[in-house]
Amino acid sequence: MTRKNKEIVGVLNKKSAFLNGLRDGIPIGLGYFAVSFSLGIEAQNAGLSFFESFLASFFCNASAGEMAGFTVIAAKGTLFEMALITLIANIRYVLMSFAIGQRVNPKTSVIHRFLIAYGLTDEIFGISIAKSGYINPFYSYGAILCAGPCWWAGTVIGNIAGNLMPIRLVSAFSVALYGMFLAIIIPAGKKDRIIAALIAISFAASFSASYIPFICDISTGTRIIVLTVVISLAAAILFPHKGEEVIDNGN
């Protein structure tokens, strides 16, 4: 298909792309609900009201980022610390945003770029980048309109019900988020030995840092930032990543 034909098909398919996005957003939304439920519990532990945790999820749509942010709020950190840790926890989106940017039709209005960015989560990035040809913005809109509300609702319900739920269930749900993180990093480690080694090193470093005297007094947020930058930078210098694939979204 020529580029011109692709464009025409893209325009004709606005509606079907949107519906496809909605459909593909369903399993993502289900996963989000469970995970954001545990995020809601974290938010509540950090002292956020249900409305505040709704705002956080509505404006951020980011598991690791929100989690890191809640850590800073809980520790009453500075706004600078908040900005830095949010940046670090979300830095992977620079790459995803960049990758998506290369796949959007150059003639697409900039408004679409602004809107796609809002719904650019790991999973939506994954299903969007997997499509061939130019990315149809309406596909992303469908996906985020389905998955997003699940994410926000999960956070709010987790925040409210975290209080009412038996402690056994709270304890169980609180690991859902970490389970999701494992589901992202472990398959990548299976494919790439360097990543596997980095995961092991990160576990060990993070574990040591939380017990070594003096270092363990540094706030959790700062510890995450420092360890991430040091380990990733060392890996980037020692083992520059080959290959063209940008990121593995772990699905």
Binding site: L169, V175, A183, S232, A236
Partner: protein
């Protein structure tokens, strides 16, 4: 000094959106620097790993339940289970272990 929660949330939202939108809107050519690309490639895995452990062990009532969740999670993810399955099984592992221990 007590900082209003809404300031925290504003900073969080602005930084998160900036990270997602700026490359999409501003950079339309390819960044070639290999170290920079490698750094961005490794960051998500390192961050998530650092955030997961030992936090997963401290998140539960009994540390043993957290360790069980970690082992189950790693195992299932290694075997290629879907994101939702891994997350759900970690929860169930905690539930079972704590039912016995706590």
């Amino acid at each position: 000094m007590e900082i209003n929660t809404y300031f925290y949330l504003t900073v969080m939202a602005l930084v998160t959106y900036a990270v997602r939108v700026l490359p999409l809107v501003l950079i339309k050519h390819e960044i070639k620097n290999r170290t920079f690309r490698s750094f961005l490639y490794y960051v998500p895995y390192v961050t998530l790993a650092v955030m997961t452990f030992p936090a997963i062990v401290d998140a539960t009532q009994s540390p043993i339940a957290g360790i069980a969740a970690l082992i189950i999670g790693v195992l299932l993810a290694w075997l290629g289970a879907k994101l939702f399955t891994v997350a759900a099984c970690c929860c169930v592992a905690v539930l079972i272990v704590e039912f016995i221990l706590v």
